[in-house]
Symmetry: C2
Subunit: 414 residues, 2 copies
Amino acid sequence: MTLETLGIQAKKAERELLKLNTTKKNECLQAVADRLVASTTEILEANAEDVRIAREKGMKESLIDRLALTENRIGAMAEGLISLIALEDPIGEVLEAKIRPNGLEIGKKRVPLGVIGIIYESRPNVTADAFGLCFKTSNAVILKGGSDAIHSNKAIVNVIRKALDAMGVTPDSIQLVEDTSRETAKKMMQMNQYLDVLIPRGGAGLIRTVVENSTVPVIETGTGNCHIYVDASADIDMAVNIIDNAKTQRTGVCNACESLVIHKDIADQVLPAVCERLFNKNVEIRGDEKCCRINSRIIPATEEDWGQEYLDYILSAKIVNSLDEAIDHINRYNTKHSEAIITKDYANARRFLEEIDAAAVYVNASTRFTDGFEFGFGAEIGISTQKLHARGPMGLKELTTTKYIIYGNGQIRP
Amino acid sequence: MTLETLGIQAKKAERELLKLNTTKKNECLQAVADRLVASTTEILEANAEDVRIAREKGMKESLIDRLALTENRIGAMAEGLISLIALEDPIGEVLEAKIRPNGLEIGKKRVPLGVIGIIYESRPNVTADAFGLCFKTSNAVILKGGSDAIHSNKAIVNVIRKALDAMGVTPDSIQLVEDTSRETAKKMMQMNQYLDVLIPRGGAGLIRTVVENSTVPVIETGTGNCHIYVDASADIDMAVNIIDNAKTQRTGVCNACESLVIHKDIADQVLPAVCERLFNKNVEIRGDEKCCRINSRIIPATEEDWGQEYLDYILSAKIVNSLDEAIDHINRYNTKHSEAIITKDYANARRFLEEIDAAAVYVNASTRFTDGFEFGFGAEIGISTQKLHARGPMGLKELTTTKYIIYGNGQIRP
């Protein structure tokens, strides 16, 4: 099946999806969830083939763990779909409405984006997850997963399509690009005629490739070089607890803290306490000269460290002379994701919130909260680090657009 | 000055602009307006140079008219800036705020986009206009106008920068790319490090070039192949008045009607009335076979006509057998701008509003109302025909993004 064919079919599905009401969509999500569980054997067989090939190719066990499915993981996919049923359907919400002096009634209504393309890497659970979010928001989706997971993805998509068909809903609501070559990926990035948006989900390399090659509008879900700034007036215990949490509660995620910035007046008190706590958890700290002077176990940082997203038990640390220097440093090296200040000072808290350029800015809390579920959205398609359309955690609403609906009775423009 | 330098300076200006309150911004808009008027002679001299060169190159008089400034046109630029003073400043508005069960207070706040790039063609009034919209929303702007208007643009930007400087505000709030070559334009489209968004303003060719070459997120302001569908139950007088208005009130604009779609059951009554009205105004009608049979002055349409944005006294016309056929035809050929149905039928009106894919969908009104001023925004940077970030007329709000502001008291993630 060519990309063109997938595109034409998705456009047809887009029209059909507009006609489904929320009740019907929820029934379908339940039916898909049930069928995924009922098809566990079939999906596990396909997945075993992917895992076998990956092992033959010598894939690292940590990556195989991302690829491998189990009965529990298939159950979790189904649970993920069922959890969408309880969420409010954003489609049809009227955001604004007014009557103009000439009697025209203008309403701004939330509608689906249309056809969403998603390019992702090796985790096959993204397949069901992305389908659920797109379907709940009445969008057709064209998925392109990694070659490593192709058998699993085919099996999962096949099950979902059958479940939709049995519910009388077009199976083309979800389509898989079966050709996993890079050339096809690049062609998909130029499918402006059929795709309304392209969302890359995966590592920094994938996201860069999509941003650089796509003419279809992209929602960039991004990397996080998140900072915590300890202001001169910070509560030391609070600072240590938050830094510990943001660095070590889970290291491989985009909202983990990667860099510490400390005001010089509190460095002698806070840095030793941070070192004690983090060295106990085997965190490596790479600091500037002043940091190294405070604790000899701190490794000298290089220029590259300031821009690094370690996703590991490593933290960079820098001592600054002022809030201004802290803000300059953070705005220079951050990836516009999540940044926190620990302070008791009212004016400094306000300045940090105002002047730091990031999707989420915190006072006295861990950066780990930047997450669709923690923000109460009940779902998440990713965390946007760009400024257009969506910024920060993206839930169902971020998979919609709006349309002006205008009721007249013969108005013409004078 | 290299693009890199402009970028670095714009980033600095972005930080300074964050600190200006609405009162100060309004005072600056007034000061810039006053200085533009006071500098009329200087601006007209520069403009005369552009016009002289354009005439030497043999530019068409209609294009020279777009390029040429007069005392009145400079006055109108100043008026445009002054009109922004009365508009509500969208910056700082809190769109949502809630307290999570763990006590975290999460607010979603409207903030500037940062640095906006605008690439436009020969009309020098865009220079002041774009500055005003960006400045009112606390955005720094880098402008790249066409080579035809370079002397005028330099003069206008120079006046604006002096006025800002005199007000104690950084002149780098507005910067002009003085090198008007295509290579520089393409480099500007890749300035992801400095530009948060790129907005092309101009013809279809310019917009296509920007969409195809830009890695910076683009807001596409688009072309309009707008349709009016006359349903079987339409009021004939109303239909004729609306079609006349949408086609002839102003032909060279994106919200003008370019194509007529008529239900077969009413074609014999409505088409002759439309012909009578429009032929009197020298509109050429290009119709399908059925239309040609109804009136012999109708010229046979070709396949290309259905997709044409004429921007002229030309209208295509097609007779359909059903609402479904009308919707299919419109969704296939439209540019997702503005579409209207003329009908007395409740269900058909609802289906048209629901199933037509466009930024603005009308029942019983002229498509000419798709406009920031007509929608009551008080300003307009363009009309977006894409679905991400902004759709339809874009006012001040569409030049903003949001930021999550989170107030905690030591929360960590369990």
